[in-house]
Amino acid sequence: MKFMDLMQQIFTGNNIAILGAALATICPGFGSAKGVGMVGEASSGVIIEDPGKFGKTLVLQALPATQGIYGMITSFLIIVQMGLLGDNPVDLSIMQGAYLFAAAMPITFVGYFSAIKQAKVAVAGINIVAKRPDHFIKGVLYAAMVETYAIFSVLISLLLVIFFKA
């Protein structure tokens, strides 16, 4: 059963947990990068007409960036909980590894999708800045509403990871 041995060796508890940590950085980071890029492209179009609007468009561009940060700190916390950064790395059982993997899942999925959707709202907000710059705050508020769900998901992920008993 060589294949099964290989699988067993690859999917140790530690590795499953690390896989979770990796995904928690990859997916939200992917989403944020894409999202921030989308808003940046739209902003460049506005700046051509009126370079004075740079500050406002920069604020809107910064909004989808938060999901990537949330993902990164979730991964960081998982790594800390596994003791990889200190002197005593913990040996996790498969169940424990799966726990940390599952704990990373909320921010992984919600981070990606909410970043993309938030970016779309932010791009619409760039339109507001272009046509009616006085009402730019309303565009920011619209985008901030989408962030709610990323906040909820990172909260759950972090709580699950923090209260993990090695």
């Binding site: 910064a62 938060t66 940060i69 949330y70 700190i73 960081f76 916390l77 800390v80 950064l85 705050i137 309303k138 920011v140 508020l141 901030a144 509403m145 962030e147 709610t148 906040i151 909820f152 990172v154 909260l155 972090l158 709580l159 923090i162």
Partner: protein
């Protein structure tokens, strides 16, 4: 606290006085103008009165303002230290007197624009010459005069070939060919060559090299390339010098920037006056103006127009008129009008929710951000900004609001023991090697999330009951006592019953509960026709408990946001203190602290602002608010660069 009483103003004056009166009214800053004939006397329109056409004058001022703005842009790169200067202050007399310097400033602006046009021309010539120069560079080695393209029996062709042709060039140039090719220079992609040929051989030459990508060039000039190149170089240097002179002349204009800005504002004031004139209706000898005025400003208005021969009428608004809304609150609560304004203004017959809303907004915002450090930064930052930069209007209100909410955040931070998250604890653990600290006075949200949830829900319940109370107050104020008892009191009794029967059971609790149910069942269907419908709809109204329940659950976001901020802070602190009390550790600490907490503050600030506002709009306003008013916008001066006092 309240909606300011408004008076409708109708004013008739002589046309000759119109302009001076417009000036008075603009400085009064309390009149919102609306179309007089349309709203008050539609039957007189077109018969006796017509609109005043001020478009030409307005456009004149607009084009002047644009040229002033353009001049400011031109000298902007040369003005240093500009943003640190305080805005110049003027009162009405000195500001009006500015029109004396109008001609001077206009002349200066024109000079600036001319100099800039000159500069643009020079830059263009420079670019053209540099292109010419670059085109000549490959040919410098050749001695032939550029003007020499043919003689009686021969001709000259300048051309380029792709480099691949080099070897085959040697092979092609046989003895038979009636041409001679000389390679003048080569660069990365092309060879620059001259061919001298017998005039009969031109076609054959072209035929031979067409396949190889020959590209003929006709260079400009008459002297040999090297000489031409030098001549162009001299001209370029001359232009560069002149460009420098022109730039220096522009630099000298930097000092007049202030006066241009001031004059810009002065012109804008004239434009505002013209706008007001344009909103009057004109007859043969009179003008009519109509608008809204806060009742408390009526005295000032009367004093204002007293020196002119006018006829005017101040009356109270009638039912159904679209009265502009001006809210009036004390100094601490007025900034929260921003939150009301973002949603919608109340109707004139409605109620100003700012008082109650601001208390709850204060509490909920504080609970969501809940950190002493962040609150302190918010408080100092916002009030500092207002004191130093002296913003006006909406920005000032918003800054004050955030500053006040900073106080709430500080209080919540102390209660929950959050000082930049768990920073004291992280420092004590990782830097000082001691045990973790717990500084909370009331509760630690991370350790007792359920209690925090209960507190959030209790706050929510009080919030919604207050909204119901406001509804009751509005009904009683308008004389609908019976409705108040049925719609508001019955729910209060029901909720009281639920509390005393289930939450904190007392012996008589059940009776209150039954009483509440009975009240609702009997009264909620009172609009219906027959007894069965009445009772049915009464009973069905109990279903509203579901919507009350979901509204209550909405307040759990206070827990979510409060906790999220705290947890992210802990992780940032963990990352920051990882280096231990070493030199590298301290550097890491400073860097991660600034970046991490700065980011966390920004994100949580936005989130708390949005969600605290959302709770007001949906759960609070939804119970009693009548929206649909538009904000009061008086005709006033809005200077961009100067500050006007006595406004």
């Amino acid at each position: 606290m309240s909606i300011n009483k408004m008076k409708r103003v109708q004013l008739v004056c002589f046309s000759a006085d119109a302009r001076k009166l417009a000036d008075e009214l603009v400085w009064l800053s309390s009149l919102e103008v609306s179309d007089p004939i349309q709203e008050d006397l539609p039957e007189l329109r077109d018969d006796f009165f017509s609109a005043v056409d001020t478009r030409d004058e307005w456009n004149q001022w607009e084009s002047r303002m644009q040229s002033f703005a353009k001049a400011l842009d031109i000298i902007a790169p040369y003005r240093t230290g500009n943003s640190f200067l305080k805005a110049a202050e003027y009162d009405r007399k000195t500001f009006t007197a500015l029109e004396e310097s109008f001609d001077n400033t206009t002349k200066t602006v024109e000079k600036i624009l001319d100099t800039d046009a000159n500069r643009k021309e020079l830059v263009e010539s420079l670019a053209a010459l540099e292109t010419q120069q670059a085109a000549l560079e490959p040919w410098i080695q050749s001695n032939l005069k550029l003007s020499l393209t043919k003689t009686d029996t021969s001709g000259v062709v300048y051309f380029t070939l792709p480099i691949l042709g080099e070897k085959s060039l040697q092979e092609d140039n046989g003895e038979d060919d009636l041409w001679e090719i000389e390679v003048v220079s080569t660069d990365k992609n092309l060879m620059y060559c001259i061919a001298i040929f017998h005039k009969t051989a031109l076609e054959a030459f072209r035929e031979r090299y067409r396949q190889k990508g020959i590209h003929e060039i006709v260079p400009e000039g008459s002297d040999p390339p090297a000489v031409e190149w030098k001549a162009i170089k001299t001209r370029i240097e001359a232009i560069r010098n002149e460009l420098k002179n022109v730039e220096d002349r522009i630099r000298l204009f930097a000092d007049v920037g202030r006066s241009i800005e001031t004059m810009y504002d002065r012109i804008q004031a004239e434009q505002t006056k013209v706008n007001l004139l344009g909103q009057m209706m004109a007859g043969d000898a009179v003008r009519i103006l109509s608008g809204w005025l806060p009742a408390e400003k009526a005295d000032r208005f009367e004093a204002c127009v007293a020196t002119y021969t006018v006829a005017y009428n101040l009356r109270d608004p009638e039912e159904g008129e679209d009265v502009p809304i001006q809210l009036k609150n004390n100094q601490v609560m007025a900034p929260f009008e921003t939150v009301v304004g973002l949603y919608s203004y109340p109707t004139y017959s409605g109620i100003d929710p700012t008082f109650m809303m601001s208390i709850f907004y204060f509490i909920i915002f504080g609970m969501m951000l809940a950190d002493f450090g962040y609150g302190l930064l918010l408080f100092l930052g916002c009030f500092g900004f207002v004191k130093w930069k002296k913003p006006v209007g909406g920005t000032r209100q918003m800054m004050l609001m955030f500053g006040i909410c900073g106080v709430a955040t500080m209080i919540a931070g102390v209660l929950f023991g959050s000082y930049f998250g768990d920073l004291p604890s992280a420092i004590s653990q990782n830097f000082l090697g001691k045990s973790p600290l717990s500084l909370s006075i009331a509760l630690d949200p991370l350790n007792e999330p359920m209690n925090f949830l209960i507190i959030s829900l209790v706050v929510g319940a009080i919030h919604m009951l207050a909204a119901l109370g406001i509804k009751g107050y509005m009904l009683i104020r308008d004389g609908h006592w019976f409705d108040a008892v049925c719609d508001v009191l019955s729910w209060y009794v029901l909720f009281a019953g639920m509390t005393f029967a289930w939450l904190t059971p007392v012996s008589w609790g059940n009776y209150v509960l039954y009483g509440g149910v009975a009240m609702l069942v009997l009264t909620q269907g009172r609009e219906k026709k027959n007894i069965f419908s009445k009772l049915f709809f009464g009973a069905a109204s109990l279903y509203n408990l579901i919507s009350w329940g979901s509204d209550l659950m909405s307040y759990s976001r206070i827990l979510a946001l409060g906790l999220a901020g705290g947890v992210v802070s802990s992780v940032i602190n963990l990352m920051a203190t990882m280096g231990g009390p070493s030199v590298i550790g301290i550097i890491l600490f400073v860097f991660v602290f600034l970046a991490g907490h700065g980011l966390n503050l920004a994100m949580n600030l936005l989130g708390s602002f949005v969600h605290a506002a959302r709770l007001q709009y949906i759960e609070f306003f939804g119970k009693f608010y009548e929206d649909g008013g538009h904000p009061f916008e008086p005709t006033t001066l809005k200077p961009k660069y100067t500050r006007l006092i006595n406004q």
